[in-house]
């Protein structure tokens, strides 16, 4: 019953309740504000430029362990202290056994907190940046989230510790493959992360069909050249078309054209043609002729020679299509090679060949550009009880020996130090033929957009690209729409800061590509 009449006493009581509630709310609200962001503070070591006394130890692992001892001696940490590592379920197998060993060696208590959904790791990380609970000490995240995390004030600058402990990442016989070491750790010229993975895209094809003499003859007759692994994208398109046989249930290619990775195929062509995502004013260059041609080629390729789930499926489609034999050629992360050679999951064991990603000819020089997609790297929370101890763990985990053991276990982390490419364990895990190809591709690897707001740039790009692949838009229009969105993002995030970051980021690209840019006058340095 409506209570217009009943209400006098009630109204005052309600008002009282409301007022009390608001007062309490105000009080509680003020407690919601945690301590203000501390000004970015470098760890307590001497200023850069002055010589840093290096920690004793013959290997990175030894130095890390000595670091822990020193920290304990200085009373900064003690036995049994708990440190939490946030990572993806896919790395469970790489990390957890290592944690056990580390805890045994150091007496500390490092534990793993895993997440099943990658996107949720980003959410948790960003939430941590806001709430600062200190419930995570180490993050193992996508490489291109480092910018967001650094700008949000969440992670610490590790550069001085690199100098103090020397993880042997960018020099020495144990160095990472370059340029992977650079773009998995640097942001605006400082080390905010340490790479723990190699996600250079790798391309695989059906060796058996290539070695078949009938096929070879037919190919020669048709194209007037020998049947061999294509070096340029043009040759690639012809090669794929040749092996595209829908009536036999095998399509030419599987390259991603779906919601999250549609950019990979396009970017590989675009960059190898000498394109770049932005110019030095952060204006997008993707609408250039190189960009449009690259997209037109990709759209034709996918629409004519691939299964429809290249557009509608998710990233695991490559891992089912290729091993079951329904595509001739597929590319994905290096793990696809493992998958295709495993008798438990693959019908084409022994028929798998690995190839270098094709490129574009420029005045007689072949420039390849291989997308390095996603990839994981370690970063340290500013709110950890001892960021330096966390750093020691990271250095130890990625060390030449410990890292090898970790990568050899089945998980999403892949091989990143150069000497490992010759290790018998790795040859067994990846297949002897594949390793040199992976190494070659890694040397030509270029990073995802790693600026602040990277997720947004990439997502909006993919959105339009996928529409082009689905036939909902023309390629030129898709790129133009993406470029417009990019401009808005840049303006919102602060153009000057983005320019500074981009100028550093493009220096992490492989040398041949940078040379090509200089030659074409896109960048001066």
């Amino acid at each position: 019953m409506a209570s217009k009449k009943k209400g006098y006493g009630k109204l005052t009581r309600r008002e009282f309740l409301k007022a009390a509630g608001l007062a309490a709310a105000g009080g509680l609200l003020s407690t919601c504000a945690p301590a203000p962001t501390p000004t970015p503070a470098a760890p307590a070591t001497p200023a850069p430029g002055t010589s840093v006394p290096r920690v004793e130890g013959a290997t990175p692992e030894e130095r890390a362990l000595n670091g822990i001892k020193a920290l304990k001696a200085a009373g900064k940490i003690k036995d049994g202290d708990t440190f939490v590592i946030l990572h993806h379920s896919g790395q469970r197998n790489n990390i957890v056994p290592a944690l056990e060993e580390w805890n045994r060696l150091t007496g500390l208590n490092f534990v793993s907190a895993e997440e099943g959904l990658e996107a949720n790791i980003y959410t948790k990380v960003m939430n941590e940046a806001v709430t600062r609970t200190g419930s995570y000490d180490i993050f193992l995240t996508f490489v291109n989230w480092i910018a967001d995390m650094a700008e949000a004030g969440l992670i610490v600058d590790q550069t001085e510790w690199w100098e103090k402990y020397d993880p042997e990442v960018d020099h020495g016989p144990n160095a990472y493959v370059s340029p992977i070491d650079r773009f998995t750790s640097l942001y605006k010229g400082r080390r905010y992360a340490m790479g723990a993975d190699n996600d250079t895209f790798s391309m695989f094809y059906r060796k058996d069909l290539m070695e078949n003499p009938d096929e070879q003859k037919r190919f020669e007759d048709k194209f007037g050249r020998k049947l061999e692994v294509p070096k340029t994208w043009e040759e690639f398109d012809q090669w794929v078309a040749f092996f595209d046989r829908p009536d036999q249930g095998i399509r030419g290619v599987h390259m991603y054209a779906e919601r999250y990775f549609a950019y990979t195929g396009w970017a590989a062509r675009f960059i190898s043609r000498g394109g770049a995502y932005f110019d030095d004013n952060m204006d997008p260059l993707i609408t250039s002729e190189e960009g449009v041609t690259a997209l037109e080629e990709m759209v034709r390729l996918i629409q004519n020679h691939a299964w429809p789930d290249a557009v509608t499926g998710d990233w695991s489609v490559a891992y089912t299509r290729f091993p079951e034999g329904s595509v001739f050629c597929a590319w994905a992360w290096p793990s696809l090679g493992k998958w295709a050679q495993d008798p438990k999951t693959s019908k084409i064991v022994g028929k798998v060949g690995a190839m270098e990603i094709p490129g574009t000819m420029h005045d007689g020089e072949l420039i390849r550009a291989v997308p390095h997609v996603v990839g994981w790297s370690f970063s340290i929370s500013r709110y950890s009880k001892s960021p330096e101890a966390c750093y020691c763990f990271i250095q130890w985990f990625c060390g030449p020996k410990t890292g090898l053991d970790a990568i050899a276990r089945v998980g999403t982390l892949d091989i990143f130090r150069q000497p490992w490419f010759n290790e018998p364990k790795m040859k067994e895990a990846y297949g002897e033929e594949f390793l040199p190809v992976l190494l070659a591709n890694s040397k030509n690897a270029f990073p995802d957009i790693s600026l602040r707001g990277a997720n947004e740039y990439l997502d909006k790009l993919n959105l339009h690209l996928q529409q082009a692949f689905a036939g909902q838009k023309k390629p030129e229009q898709a790129l133009k729409d993406a470029a417009d969105e990019w401009q808005k993002i840049t303006d919102r995030l602060g153009r000057l800061s983005q320019i500074e970051a981009w100028r550093q980021e493009r220096k992490n690209y492989p040398e041949p590509i940078q040379r090509l840019w200089r030659k074409k006058g896109i960048f001066k340095d």
């Binding site: 009943k6 309740l17 959410t123 806001v130 967001d148 949000a152 919601r259 429809p308 997720n455 529409q467």
Partner: protein, 302 residues
């Protein structure tokens, strides 16, 4: 009118008791919801992103610009339209099916009725993620549904369910209907059971047939229950997220993106929490207005 003193006292007692009864609920809502709500409203009036490195209470004031942007955002508007369409289709079908099943159950007696009821309620009991996964797998290019179609009608019958936005939305609607018809069934069935049998018996003795009894007696008495079920279900359906996320991710492009999915993307992938807050508040206002209109007849029933 004059009221005897005893009646006045009784009213006072009732009022007091009424306040006491709603107190726990009010406390919970005030302390768990109101404060975050205030923060949301605040966020919608500033322009804040965590990656700007500024604390949220120091974010620059933005007035109503987030709201203005939202109202002109085509992606927001189409997501809203799409979600409304999806909700209308899914909920009406859920209602009709649930009603039919409840009537069927109410009128028929047969052995194994309880087991049948358990079977019917099962879809609600599976966790969302599993339901989404299941339907996703069912409608894959090389999934069981296409397999059946091919076996019955030949290879060209295979449908690219996820490539065409309309078909993709249909599969999502199907998953939703499958999962939530049991809810409608449950509520309406309970409602039917609580109805007094006398009016029905009286009508039967007067010679009314089944349809007339339903239309003129049962249905009017059921109206409050039906309305509640519809309102609750519609509100929930409007927030559809899990199914869309798992089955299509909103793709191709944004052609199956639901409102909640777009809010999620904006807030958690792009990190634009202020903008997401503003959009969410717009949604709240819109839905509240519509719901207010829907709830009026319910209040009149009392």
């Amino acid at each position: 009118m004059r009221f005897p003193i005893q009646w006045k006292l009784k009213w006072a007692e009732e009022r007091w008791m009424g306040q006491l009864l709603i107190l726990p609920m009010q406390l919970l809502i005030w302390f768990v919801l109101i404060i975050p709500m205030l923060i949301v409203i605040y966020l919608s009036l500033v322009s804040w992103q965590p990656i700007m490195g500024v604390d949220w209470w120091q974010a620059p004031f933005a007035g109503l610009s987030n709201y203005v942007q939202a109202v002109q955002d085509p992606r927001f508007l189409t997501a809203m339209g799409r979600t409304i369409g999806l909700v209308l289709v899914a909920v009406s079908l859920e209602f009709l099916l649930g009603l039919a099943l409840a009537l069927f159950f109410h009128q028929q007696e047969f052995p194994g009725k309880r087991i049948f009821a358990s079977i019917l309620l099962y879809p609600m009991m599976l966790p969302w993620v599993v339901v989404g996964l299941c339907f996703y797998l069912l409608f894959l290019d090389k999934g069981p549904v296409n397999y059946i179609l091919i076996s019955l009608f030949g290879p060209s019958a295979s449908v690219q369910w996820y490539q065409n936005p309309i078909l993709a939305l249909m599969t999502i609607a199907l998953a939703d209907i499958w999962q939530w018809t049991p809810f409608m069934f449950l509520v309406i069935y309970s409602g039917l059971g609580a109805l007094p049998p006398e009016p029905v018996e009286a009508a039967m003795t007067l010679g009314a047939n089944r349809w007339e009894i339903f239309r003129y007696i049962v249905f009017p008495m059921l109206k409050p229950v039906i309305l509640i079920a519809l309102i609750i279900r519609t509100l929930e359906a409007f927030k559809i997220f899990d199914l869309v996320y798992i089955m299509t991710g909103g793709g191709p492009g944004t052609s199956t993106e639901s409102l909640s999915l777009y809010l999620y993307r904006t807030g958690f992938i792009y990190g634009q929490l202020s903008y997401a807050a503003a959009m969410a508040l717009l949604v709240l206002i819109l839905v509240a207005l519509v719901a207010r209109l829907a709830v009026r007849p319910l209040e009149r029933e009392l």
